[in-house]
Amino acid sequence: MLAGHKAIDVDVHPVVPGTAALLPYLDEFWRDQVIERGINTLHSQNYPPNAPLTVREDWKKASTVADLQQQLLDPYGLDMAIVTPMLGVQMVFNADMARAFTRALNDWTRAEWLDKDARLRASIVLPMHDPEHAVEEIERLAPDRRFVQAMILVMGETPAGKRQHWKVYEACIRHGLPLAIHAGSSFRHPVTSVGWPSWYLEQYFASSQGFQSTLGSLITEGVLSKYPELKIVLLESGVSWLMPFLYRLQKTWKGVRFEIPWVDRPPIQLVRDQVRLSCQPFDAPPDVVPRVVEMLGSDDMLMWASDWPHWQYDGDEAIPPGMPAALMPKLLRGNALATYSRLRAPAFVKE
């Protein structure tokens, strides 16, 4: 299915085995803190380790490069894959501790993944507790051009568009890094605006509401208008929520745009120009997938992802069934190359 496309996978999740794996990448103080205080795991409720959605049955081992090579890179003949570990560093409340863990996590990604397979690229996981810390992390890692984007969770502490975050986005622009927004919560708020739901199914579902609110915030606060060169990549969002949300927002904008006069282009146009989405999962049955794609009104927005090792599809049905064949070159490769400037140039390491 993917053969011959030199496909690029924009959403791959190495599993951090445990806090112990990060010890070599922590300084002495934080290393001792981990041990003395018994901080054994930072796995997040976003992906309960044993939930069937978290790890596909035949992808149970997903914590080494060898697993990724055997299960994905080699059989799919991938040209490149962007790895984004989903450890719960965003949930830590102490901003200094969060910074330490985030640095360690990014260094772990570099040493354990990037250094071990030349096809791999990575996200800079951002400690958003303090924008200074996030900027510092971007500055620290951006010289290594294998880091191709910066990543935040879709459910943060304050809506992503708010001005206190802008210096982070300016740092992304400085270094040619798209801002990736991934499904999941930092659990500063209930995962719904009506409180905590009972079931994990509802919680997983709730990321698609987070994507609507977050994209709404980026548009209305003026991030897309002010920074036209900033690319936003929505990872594991489900896709089909997008246009119904924008149909409503754009209709309202016609009447109350006076409230946000900096949004001087129709929101749907802003999104088409600057927002990209990974296509796994694709929340639509195969028979309506073509119509949902048509509604996007652009061939440039969708990027292929496996979401490895999350269980989004069975067997090797890695492309959502129903996806128009004409879209394949862009979906599998072209749109990723257009979105990530760093994928277009040969990677080099500058320490």
């Binding site: 606060e221 208008s225 002010k226 904008w253 016609k254 009447g255 745009r257 006076f258 006069p261 001087d264």
Partner: protein, 133 residues
């Protein structure tokens, strides 16, 4: 078709009939503008809307507020139209209210033609707004 100019002081507006159609007649500082009194969206009367100014922004957090009194917002869905042109703010080329030329003539000029007063008896002393439908 005419309305008495003195009936619509600067900053005010009035719904009048012109050529059998409802027309919203605005006085902007002595200049008269006539728009079809029907929002192109769902048909509400613009005369029932809010008269406001024009807000633009060079960047988030900066509000440039100008042309107070020169924008009319539909009473229903708040679409904004430029009273001077009838153009909507959000899609000025495609979404606009039809505009008619309007100007003031004295009663004396009117009595010599070419316009005929449809609704008002004309007196020589007064000035009248003429809308060309």
């Amino acid at each position: 078709m005419v309305a008495r100019a003195a009936d619509i002081p600067p900053g005010e507006h009035k719904r009048v009939e012109a050529g059998g159609r409802p027309v919203a007649l605005f006085n902007l500082g002595g200049e008269f503008f006539a728009l079809v009194d029907k929002c192109p969206h769902q048909g509400a009367s613009l005369c029932g809307g809010t008269i406001s100014g024009h807000v633009t922004s060079p960047e988030p957090g900066v509000y440039h507020y100008s042309r107070r009194g020169e924008m009319v917002r539909c009473p229903w869905h708040y679409w904004e139209f430029d009273i001077r042109t009838g153009q909507s703010w959000f899609d000025p080329q495609k979404v606009k209210v039809r505009q008619y030329p309007a100007h003031v003539e004295s009663g004396a000029e009117l009595q010599q033609g070419p316009y005929k007063a449809e609704t008002l008896p004309v007196t020589v002393e007064d000035n009248y707004v003429v809308i060309e439908t």
